[in-house]
Symmetry: D2
Subunit: 151 residues, 4 copies
């Protein structure tokens, strides 16, 4: 547990419903593996059609997992009706994305009324061995229900 | 033109061949639109299965385009036999990824024997209007042909 | 010119007054070299007491110049009474900070009611030759006059 | 302990000697508070001449602490004779830099022959209360003793 108190007791259902609306998550076969207050995990199996030229999962897909987990870790702490958008992130790709499956684990560092800072790490599982392949630092913005665009 | 002199006169063919090996590029329908010495453009049409919950293209896909263009802008200046890997990047998502098509334009800021710094911007085309939706700053690493892993 | 229309016709005086209140700028001998709508330049001479172990200006000082220029480029487009704070930035250090003087040039990429995205490059001047030593991508936040804290 | 095995048993002395050569560290009153294999802490007292316009320590100084700690965390794992340079970093400024003193704590995430990825957090101490004010993700490069310039 991160020690954060959610503003919306139904945060789990809200995050799950939002995740289900993301077409890209179905396209890449990602699943919501864990949702807690200020924390989220998203997992995905390796698929050849998501790889780059060396046969590893493409950095853009690793980033997609990390970013999506970061967004939902942030959303879990936002009030009812709020929506979340990524404003920016930075990711270091530390090891090749080689493995049978991948999990992004995101954790809120600082929740805020407008901006939430999140750390999100991606792990590869390869024959029972877990390797850290990437680490992200992201800023998420909270949009009230009636705002339709960024900022 | 960026004013850089390529170390490999066949850089265009090398980048094209490498791009063709990236399964993810076919999966998302991306095409190599331009390759020059130190510069690369990659384009993609909007597809609903690449969108997030608000119907915009997912930040992870915008990032995939920007990262891939950045990697090939860097590779165009590397010597024959070299391979390129992303070590890290940061991206600011400035406007919603709304449009009929998207183009990432990458340009090398600083080529180096080991590390190459690249700027990569992503534009949305929407009914003839072009909008800057994201800007990336990336570090690419050059691997000699006989190195199999990052670093 | 960046093509942005300032919301405050007195932006130049406002930026200058704010700069004058920054004790650190005096400490490192930085001067405000240019302020336009959406653009700012800050310069500094080399000083040995600002260097790192190899005799180059420390990356933290290069960053200080880039960040400060970015903040004022953003502030120049904000309404009267607004204050600016850095929420995050990323910088690539591309060449050693060697030279007689250094100039950070910042330009707004995307102004927003809450967040403004700014690019800021740092150049070294060495015997009449100008070298790009660093490039930053930053997010600035606009605080209305009555907000006292970040977010 | 981070679980890393140093390649140089004298890493502590080497880091201390290197730190002592950094003029900027004396200028801002920073001190090396801890050096372990893959970990480093640097502390500094608040000083008015290091502040920005709102009376908080300037983001550039917070960054200087975080970057320097990150560099020495990386250097502690490098072989004898190696030197370290920052290639890039990104920092999120989460809370105002208010307090009597500040400490950056850096920890290596991934050591490498060429590149080392480091996380570095900065804490403010204010009347016995410790607050996380910034988090950095940085890439450090190892230069062998005979290389004089970046890359």
């Amino acid at each position: 547990m991160t020690g954060f108190t959610p503003k919306d007791p139904d945060f789990h259902a809200r995050v799950s419903a939002d995740f289900a609306k993301q077409a890209l998550m179905r396209t890449i076969g990602a699943r919501l593996a864990l949702v807690e207050a200020g924390r989220c995990e998203i997992s995905m199996n390796k698929r050849d059609d998501l790889c780059q030229q060396h046969g590893f999962v493409h950095a853009g897909i690793t980033t997609t997992l990390a970013d999506t987990a970061a967004g939902y870790a942030a959303l879990s702490l936002m009030p009812p009706g709020a929506e979340v958008l990524s404003t920016e992130f930075k990711i270091n790709l530390m090891n090749p994305a080689a493995g049978q499956s991948f999990t992004a684990r995101a954790e809120v560092l600082k929740p805020g009324r407008t901006l939430t800072v999140v750390r999100s790490d991606v792990w590869a599982d390869n024959d029972g061995k877990r390797t850290l392949i990437a680490s992200m630092l992201a800023t998420m913005i909270c949009l009230a229900g009636n705002q339709s665009a960024r900022q």
